[in-house]
């Protein structure tokens, strides 16, 4: 299949502003980019001046939820190993890697330890052969620093990145919120925000020791971000991510025991939230992901302490993230580095940017299209969003996976 996309404003890799350009796609790859390409022999697709961006690569989702991903312009999703059963065997990686193809690619992430129990290493090498592109501790934590160091050494030798969840369980076990006025008023058991910095500090020390690549999946506190900033300045191979929820909501969102805002890590203080926005601006944060975790009433319509963590975030990821551009924290090109390019690079896949030879995962975005987030009308498997009724702008009008329109 040979196609040419004409009349698009393209976020070309390496350029600061969208370029008026044509793009040709041969098979599933981008073959040429330029304003003067001839359309001879290509099937033409007129983009009517719309913005063309690389498909979003969602690093660290908890469910494969195709309708939500497609609504949100997500063409690849890296699936966390916290499934039932846990993704700790090669057969499960193989099974999950093919789920969703061809119109969505899922990249299952290998569990670091058997059952994510933090005790014995899982068969990471065999899982790599079966298609795993990263290893993760899931939402749990490896308490034993000796095991963590062995894991990092081992993953270094396999050249596999390790995705970690940064909360010291000694502090956060049983906690439903971050310590502060809101948790105190509601009488919820809480953990201090420093639980995050504590676990990041340890893992950075172990990165220094092992040289392994570590991606801190969600860093949500000023203290934690300072540690990452310093580690990067020291030249360590660390990256970090965040979700829009932690950028646009503080712990006040859990008032009235709103379980849709019960997240892991929890929503933080306003001061921490502002520090996160600054870290997006100064480049400390590398990835914005949805943390997509659709949960129905059986998991969420419970007393706060008993409700599950997590939010359905896939379809709101782009629209919410566009606020960062409107508010002047970053430009549009940087936004798609955070949403697409960096996560693809961490996973080691040739996708996530509009460049010659890369996978033709493309989205056409209407930046101004207004819509309202509505928990009852979500495309996702469940409507557990803390952003219910929020008016947003920006909508995906077309999505192409490997050049094929979905």
């Amino acid at each position: 299949m040979k196609q040419i996309f004409t009349n698009a404003q393209v976020l070309v890799s390496g350029k600061d502003i969208p370029q008026a350009s044509n793009i040709t796609v041969d098979g599933d790859r981008i073959s040429q980019i330029g304003a003067e390409i001839s359309d001879n022999g290509y099937t033409q697709i007129d983009c009517n001046g719309a913005l063309m961006a690389p498909g979003i690569v969602d690093l660290g989702v908890f469910a494969i939820d195709k309708p939500a991903f497609h609504f949100g312009g997500i063409t690849r999703a890296a699936l966390m190993p916290d499934q039932s059963p846990v993704l700790d065997l090669p057969a499960m990686i193989k099974h999950n890697a093919s789920e969703g193809k061809p119109d969505l690619w899922s990249h299952p992430i290998a569990a670091a330890t058997k059952g994510l129990a933090g005790a014995e290493l899982a068969e990471i090498g065999l899982m790599k052969q079966a298609g795993a592109r990263a290893v993760s501790t899931g939402r749990s934590w490896i308490a034993d620093s000796g095991i963590m160091l062995k894991l990092l050494h081992y993953c270094r030798s396999l050249d596999m990145p390790v995705i970690v969840h940064s909360e010291d369980r000694g502090l956060t076990a049983g906690a439903a919120a971050t310590s502060g006025e809101t948790a105190t008023r509601l009488g919820l058991s809480s953990a201090p925000a420093s639980a995050e910095a504590l676990s990041i500090a340890r893992d950075i020390a172990l990165v220094r020791e092992s040289g392994a690549k570590v991606h801190f999946r969600q860093v949500t506190t000023a203290q934690g971000l300072d540690l990452i900033r310093q580690a990067k300045a020291d030249g360590l191979p660390v990256t970090c991510g965040i979700t829009p929820a932690h950028l646009f909501l503080s712990d006040i969102a859990i008032s009235d025991f709103r379980t849709f805002a019960k997240l892991s890590p929890p929503l933080r203080s306003e001061e921490d939230r502002m520090a996160c926005l600054e870290a997006v601006k100064d480049g400390t944060i590398d990835v914005i992901s949805s943390g997509h975790d659709p949960r129905g009433p059986e998991d969420k319509r419970l007393p706060f302490a008993e409700a599950e963590f997590g939010m359905a975030g896939a379809e709101t990821l782009l629209a919410l993230s566009l606020n960062l551009v409107r508010d002047g924290y970053i430009d549009l090109c940087r936004l798609f580095e955070l949403l697409s390019t960096s996560p693809a690079r961490i996973l080691g896949v040739q996708a996530g940017q509009i460049a010659k030879g890369f996978e033709a995962d493309l989205i056409l975005v209407d930046l101004d299209a207004p819509w309202q987030i509505d928990t009852r009308k979500m495309a996702a498997a469940a409507g557990n969003t803390p952003f219910d009724k929020l008016p947003v702008q920006g909508r995906v009008r077309a999505i192409y996976k490997g050049g094929k329109a979905l």
């Binding site: 310590s179 948790a183 008023r185 009488g187 025991f257 009433p297 007393p303 706060f304 302490a305």
Partner: protein, 334 residues
């Protein structure tokens, strides 16, 4: 100024808005968010029931024909008994549901239990649950008024009301009093409701505990936090001791009961630091010799502990009466 027949010193002559404007809420889920006059209105309403409860015939037919369900998902003896007596003295049919006997143990969700209780057409439901926010969750699913009888570490509003009534009857106006709350503030719903209630009524509230038992950001709740008991007691008008749960006494939060008693137990000597007429309170049940010594607890001049229990019934009668007025079509309560 009018003389209030019930003799309460501080609500005497206080003007309340007419009808349901005096207490416009459908449920009583907590003290947080209540206006000072709404709290004072409930206290004023309770006074008549204090008087009735001291008669030989303690009965009114005000709630005749109404069904009150006490749904207790967490064990309780005194609060359950207090609500049961309150409902029965007002003529309601009172039914108690204990979690131990309920389908909760069979895995039914709280929402399903709420829907079931609702379908039985209760006219008021009193709920206690071990999880913060659980009572609000049920209240959102039922058609009748819900009274929170304690949810996790969140709120226990009727306890705060009965404490306020006790203080008001002994000390007069609560505004301007210095009140020290000592004990496991972090896990205490009694402490939270009392903090909301007493600060709303204008008292200076101090809380005291080892820092490991104090929650974060207390300064944002208009209270002063102490970890030295002697300092917290200095010049206090009221000393309110909290119950220390047994499971927190064995090395987890504090090393031992005897160490706690040494540092935070209210003894006769310590009490001398407070005002000479300071009132001693405790929500019960007490750990004698741990948070409070027996000679203080049993001193009729200083201790209001049994009076608190008495006020509890009256306050709960007032709450059941006020919350069911709409249902009963009382004039002005539409």
């Amino acid at each position: 100024m009018t003389i209030d027949q019930t003799g309460s010193p501080s609500t005497a002559g206080h003007q309340f808005p007419a009808g349901s404007d005096a207490f416009p809420h459908r449920h009583l889920l907590g003290i947080a968010g209540l206006q000072p006059w709404e709290i004072l209105f409930l206290l004023k309403e309770a006074e008549q029931w204090v008087n009735l409860n001291r008669q030989s015939s303690k009965h009114t037919n005000r709630l005749d024909g109404l069904t009150v369900i006490n749904a207790f998902f967490e064990n309780s003896t005194r609060t359950l008994l207090s609500f049961e007596i309150a409902g029965k003295r007002m003529g309601a049919d009172v039914v108690n549901m204990h979690a131990a006997q309920s389908s909760v143990k069979k895995g039914e969700t709280l929402i399903d239990t709420a829907v079931t209780l609702n379908a039985m057409r209760a006219d008021a439901i009193v709920i206690r649950h071990a999880s913060s926010g659980a009572v609000q969750l049920i209240a959102d699913k039922v058609d009748c008024p819900v009274l929170n009888a304690g949810d996790g570490s969140h709120e226990h509003p009727t306890q705060a009301l009965l404490d306020a009534l006790t203080i008001q009857r002994r000390k007069g106006d609560i505004s301007g009093l210095t009140i020290t709350i000592c004990g496991d503030v972090m896990h205490s719903r009694v402490a939270r409701s009392n903090i909301y209630c007493l600060t709303t009524l204008g008292a200076q509230v101090r809380v005291c505990a080892p820092t490991s038992l104090l929650p974060a950001a207390l300064d944002r709740m208009n209270v002063e936090a102490f970890s030295h008991f002697d300092e917290a007691l200095d010049g206090a008008d009221v000393v309110m001791m909290l119950r220390l749960q047994n499971e927190r006494m064995n090395g987890d939060f504090i090393p031992s009961p005897r160490e706690f008693h040494h540092l935070y137990g209210l003894t006769r000597d310590r009490l001398k630091l407070a005002k000479s007429d300071a009132l001693v309170m405790h929500p019960g049940p007490m750990n004698r010799g741990v948070e409070i010594s027996s000679d203080v607890a049993d001193d009729p001049d200083r201790s209001a502990i049994t009076e608190q229990v008495e006020m509890g019934v009256a306050v709960r009668m007032a709450c059941l009466d006020v919350l069911t007025r709409r249902l009963r079509g009382v004039e002005g309560w539409s």
